[in-house]
Amino acid sequence: GGKTQCNIQKLNAQEPSFRFPSEAGLTEFWDSNNPEFGCAGVEFERNTVQPKGLRLPHYSNVPKFVYVVEGTGVQGTVIPGCAETFESQGESFSGGQEQPGKGQEGSKGGQEGQRQRFPDRHQKLRRFQKGDVLILLPGFTQWTYNDGDVPLVTVALLDVANEANQLDLQSRKFFLAGNPQQGGGKEGHQGQQQQHRNIFSGFDDQLLAEAFNVDLKIIQKLKGPKDKRGSTVRAEKLQLFLPEYSEQEQQPQQQQGQQQQGVGRGWRSN
């Protein structure tokens, strides 16, 4: 209560005040300098992600409570310390034989489609659809992909007065990629809409290359100084590993047949 000002004489229905289009989406902010926002200790935003649009990985200093107005998508939330429990089959896209176990050096040369690749591992992905609510925790990296056919529209309450936020009463997004244009809320009101850079941009190339143990040219791409795509980018060929996409689940009869063959070979015993 001590943080907010609630001396309100009149309430107004409001529309978004700031719009930030990007390559495959639109982010809109309501002006949080209006007194009712200050009283409630919240900010509000609306995000539109076009089909095949990817909202770049980022984290925020405040909790977000999201409602899915339209469309479907996949939500990736990185929970620090949790295991990478989703993994690809490694060779599923090349048509080759799956490599057993990790740690084997794959052949990187050759034509696309014949390259041997390791299985990719990452944390759990969550599918959501129209009508869902999503809770986005502060400080946890998140990204969103619209793999549907219609625009994905979400609205979100940003609880800037939440005790999890130990900064001031202003939402901030820390992007891990791209150079998103930001400036909602108080920033936007002050005319400070500007091209922000991702957090890697502030570190020295050499220091990052040493930390990542990669070449400098990859660090340059990580910083992406010429990336003008904004916070939501087009990702046409994004192939995510979700249980629903599993080939085995799409071919239950074939799998069942294989299991029966296994039984015939006496594999039921331990």
Binding site: L207, I218, K221
Partner: protein, 186 residues
Amino acid sequence: GLEETLCTVKLSENIGLPQEADVFNPRAGRITTVNSQKIPILSSLQLSAERGFLYSNAIFAPHWNINAHSALYVIRGNARIQVVDHKGNKVFDDEVKQGQLIIVPQYFAVIKKAGNEGFEYVAFKTNDNAMINPLVGRLSALRAIPEEVLRSSFQISSEEAEELKYGRQEALLLSEQSQQGKREVA
């Protein structure tokens, strides 16, 4: 009954002893934390602390504090520290030396590289269970993101995305020279 309860409350803990380390990399250093899991009364104070020893030229992986501010005091040695805000601006880039203090705000990204003499510090944090999220290494945010997402986000090849994810097998404390393979067996 106070002498059996409040009077016996645990109020101290040594976080300087090597055998108490919570994170240890013989090539890079060690970290010991004290939080409300170790001293329960810290939960009511919402405070915790971290004692770090970085060996010569070792790197503390770039990371951000998820739920706390951090006040880092240099006990011995020196380190180069860079801090980056949400706009990608470098808000601190300097060498810190013995006796100096730096405040790292919550969520700001920070990287520390020890100097030739190593780097010892104590960091006080404004949460009783302070957590960080590293950007590099085995526990990093990038490793938890699908390779396909990294490829589209950074406009890089699959091989480069793989290098970013698996270039470092160490967790938080990174050694100066890593000759390890890109994806060695743990």
